[in-house]
C-alpha cells in the first residue's frame, strides 16, 4: 500500500465518518450549519485531486453521436470549432474542446478555430499551444488548421458567416489573407463546412449557432456545453444538434471513447476523466446531505406534531 493509498483511505474514512456523525445528529433534530456542508464539499473535491481516484466511463448515445460524426467524416473535411466560453467555464468545457481538436486532427481534418467571446480567444490560444503545439508539431498553420480568432458582434457575426465567411474574417490572427489560407479553399461560407462544434454555454452559444447557421445553412452542429446548460440543448437533439457533450461527464465520456478507439491517447493528459473523481465523490456527499436534510425534516415534523 503506497502513501497515496493510505491518504485516500484516511480521507474517505474521515468523510464517511463525518457524514455518519451528521446523520446521527440529524436524527436528534440538530440542523447542519452550511459551513459544515461547505467543509465536506471541499474535502470530497480535494481528496480525489490529492489522492487520485478515477472511474471508467462509457459514452452515452448523445456523446457517441458527436464522436461518430467526427470519426466518419472523410480525411480533409472542414471542421469549425468555436470557443464560445470565458475563463469561468473553461475548467468544464476546455477538456472537451481539446479532445475534439485532438480527434479531428488525428483524423486529418482541416480545423478552423474561432471565438465569439473576447476572452475565448486567449483560451483558444491555450488549446492550440497545448494540443496542436505539443501533440501535432508536424502540422502547419493555414494548411492543416487556421485560427481566425475572436470577432465582436455576437449573432451578427453568425448572420454574416452563414453566407460570406471572408467578409467577417478577411485574415487570420496573424494577418494572413483569407485567399492565401489553404484551409479555406472552397469555403465561401459556413454552408461549405462539414461540421460545426460550438463549445460554451453562454450567449452567444449553441442556440445561436443553430438558429443562424445550422438550421438555415443546413450544416451539422454539435454542442459542447456546461452541465447546467445541457438540459436546454435536449429540445434540439437530434434534429438540429447532432450530439451533446454535457459538462465534465460529457467530456470524460468523449475522452474515454477516444482512448477506446485510439489507445495511444491513454498516455495523454485526460483532465475530464481525472475530474470525474471529484465530481462523483461530491455528488455522493450531496446525496447524503439531502438524506440528512430529509431525516431532519421528518424528525422535526414528528416533534411538532407530538407537541
Amino acid at each position: 500500500m503506497t502513501m497515496v493509498d493510505i491518504g485516500r483511505l484516511i480521507s474517505l474514512i474521515f468523510i464517511g465518518g463525518g457524514l455518519l456523525w451528521l446523520f446521527i445528529s440529524g436524527l436528534k433534530g440538530k440542523e447542519v450549519d452550511r459551513r459544515i456542508i461547505f467543509l465536506f464539499i471541499f474535502l470530497s473535491v480535494a481528496t480525489p485531486i490529492l489522492f487520485p481516484i478515477t472511474f471508467g466511463e462509457k459514452a452515452t448515445p448523445v456523446v457517441k453521436a458527436v464522436f461518430d460524426k467526427v470519426e466518419s467524416l472523410p480525411e480533409g473535411s472542414r471542421v469549425l470549432i468555436s470557443f464560445d466560453f470565458d475563463p469561468a467555464m473553461a475548467p468544464e468545457v476546455q477538456p472537451m474542446a481539446n479532445a475534439i481538436t485532438r480527434h479531428s486532427l488525428t483524423k486529418g481534418h482541416k480545423v478552423i478555430f474561432m471565438s465569439l467571446f473576447a476572452t475565448g480567444q486567449a483560451l483558444l490560444t491555450q488549446s492550440l499551444r497545448k494540443v496542436v503545439g505539443e501533440e501535432f508539431p508536424e502540422l502547419e498553420e493555414c494548411k492543416d488548421y487556421v485560427n481566425v480568432g475572436f470577432k465582436a458582434g455576437n449573432e451578427g457575426v453568425l448572420n454574416v458567416i452563414v453566407t460570406d465567411f471572408k467578409k467577417m474574417f478577411p485574415t487570420d490572427v496573424n494577418n494572413v489573407p483569407y485567399d492565401s489560407i489553404e484551409v479555406f479553399d472552397g469555403i465561401k461560407s459556413c454552408k461549405d463546412i462539414d461540421l460545426i462544434v460550438s463549445i460554451g454555454g453562454g450567449m452567444p452559444g449553441v442556440k445561436e449557432w443553430v438558429l443562424f447557421v445550422g438550421d438555415p445553412g443546413n450544416v451539422p452542429v454539435a454542442a459542447g456545453v456546461a452541465a447546467v446548460v445541457a438540459p436546454q440543448m435536449y429540445p434540439y437533439y437530434p434534429e438540429q444538434i447532432l450530439g451533446i457533450l454535457g459538462g465534465v461527464k460529457g467530456a470524460a465520456e468523449y475522452e474515454s471513447e477516444l482512448i477506446k478507439n485510439y489507445p495511444h491517447f491513454a498516455e495523454m493528459d485526460t483532465p475530464a476523466l481525472r475530474m470525474m473523481g471529484p465530481q462523483t465523490l461530491a455528488h455522493m456527499v450531496i446525496m447524503i446531505f439531502i438524506v440528512i436534510g430529509n431525516v431532519l425534516f421528518f424528525v422535526s415534523r414528528r416533534k411538532r406534531r407530538g407537541k
Binding site: 447542519v32 452550511r34 456542508i37 461547505f38 465536506f40 464539499i41 471541499f42 473535491v45 472511474f55 471508467g56 466511463e57 462509457k58 452515452t60 448515445p61 448523445v62 470565458d86 475563463p87 469561468a88 467555464m89 473553461a90 475548467p91 476572452t119 480567444q121 486567449a122 490560444t125 491555450q126 465582436a152 458582434g153 455576437n154 449573432e155 451578427g156 448572420n159 454574416v160 490572427v173 452541465a227 445541457a230 438540459p231 436546454q232 435536449y234 429540445p235 461527464k249 470525474m276 465530481q279 462523483t280 461530491a282 455528488h283 455522493m284 456527499v285 450531496i286 446525496m287 446531505f289 439531502i290 440528512i292 436534510g293 430529509n294 425534516f297 421528518f298
Partner: protein
C-alpha cells in the same frame, strides 16, 4: 420631445426589423441595426469606466467604509488599462496585439483573471450542496417527486449509477439508472422546458409589442 423622439425611434426600428423578416431587400437591416447598437454600446464603455473611477475615487478620498477595496479596484483598473494601451511588457512592442504570446497583459489574464473567474464559478459547487440540502425535502407530493428525480439524476451522472443497476437485463434497461436519468432529461424535463420556452416566446412578443407601440415606457424613465 424628450420622450417622443425615443418612442419614435423604437417604433421605426421595431417595425423595420419585423418587416425585414418578410421583405428580402430589407434583410440586411437587422444586421446593420445590431452594428449600430454595438457602436453605441462602445461609447457607453466610457460612461461606465468613468463612473467606476469616480465612485471609487470618491470613496477612497472620503475614507468611507471599506475604502481599501476601492484602492484595489482603482489600482487594478489603471494597471490593466496602462499595460494594454501602451503594450508594456509586450515582446512585439507597441504595434503588437495586446494579447500577443508572452505579453504582460496576456500573463495577467492567464494567471490572475482566469483563476479568479474560475474560483468564483467554483463557488457553485458549495452553493449547490447547501441549496440542495435546504430545498430537496419531501414536504409534499410534488417535492417528493422532485427529490426522487434529483436522486436519479445525481446517481446517473456518476459511475455508481451503472454499478448499482448494471445487473438489470437488457430488456428492462430503461430501469438502469443512467438510462432513467437520460429519460428524465429527454421526456418530462424536455416537456417542461418546451412549455416554458413557448410561454417565454409569447411573453417576449407581448412585451415587444407594448414597447414598440409605446404603451410600455417605464424604461425611458417615468410613466406616461
Amino acid at each position: 420631445m424628450k420622450r417622443e423622439i425615443p418612442l419614435l425611434i423604437t417604433f421605426i426600428v421595431g417595425v423595420v426589423l419585423i418587416v425585414s423578416v418578410f421583405v428580402p431587400p430589407t434583410e440586411t437591416l437587422g444586421e446593420d441595426f445590431s452594428v449600430f447598437f454595438d457602436i453605441i454600446a462602445v461609447f457607453a464603455f466610457f460612461l461606465g469606466g468613468g463612473n467606476l473611477v469616480q465612485s471609487h475615487f470618491s470613496k477612497a478620498r472620503k475614507r468611507q467604509t471599506d475604502w481599501g477595496y476601492s484602492i484595489v479596484t482603482l489600482v487594478g483598473f489603471v494597471a490593466m488599462l496602462t499595460i494594454g494601451l501602451f503594450k508594456l511588457g509586450n515582446p512585439g512592442g507597441i504595434s503588437a496585439p495586446p494579447t500577443a504570446e508572452g505579453s504582460l497583459f496576456q500573463e495577467i489574464f492567464d494567471f490572475v483573471i482566469m483563476p479568479l473567474s474560475a474560483t468564483m464559478y467554483s463557488l457553485l459547487a458549495f452553493f449547490v450542496a447547501s441549496a440542495s440540502y435546504r430545498a430537496f425535502r419531501a414536504k409534499n407530493r410534488e417535492a417528493t417527486i422532485l427529490l426522487v428525480a434529483a436522486f436519479i439524476i445525481l446517481l446517473g451522472r456518476t459511475p455508481f449509477g451503472m454499478l448499482v443497476t448494471g445487473w438489470i437485463p437488457e430488456s428492462f434497461d430503461i430501469l438502469q439508472i443512467p438510462n432513467m436519468a437520460i429519460w428524465i432529461m429527454n421526456s418530462p424535463n424536455l416537456a417542461g422546458q418546451r412549455a416554458i420556452m413557448i410561454g417565454i416566446g409569447l411573453g417576449v412578443v407581448s412585451m415587444s409589442l407594448r414597447i414598440i407601440l409605446g404603451i410600455e415606457r417605464t424604461y425611458l424613465g417615468g410613466d406616461d
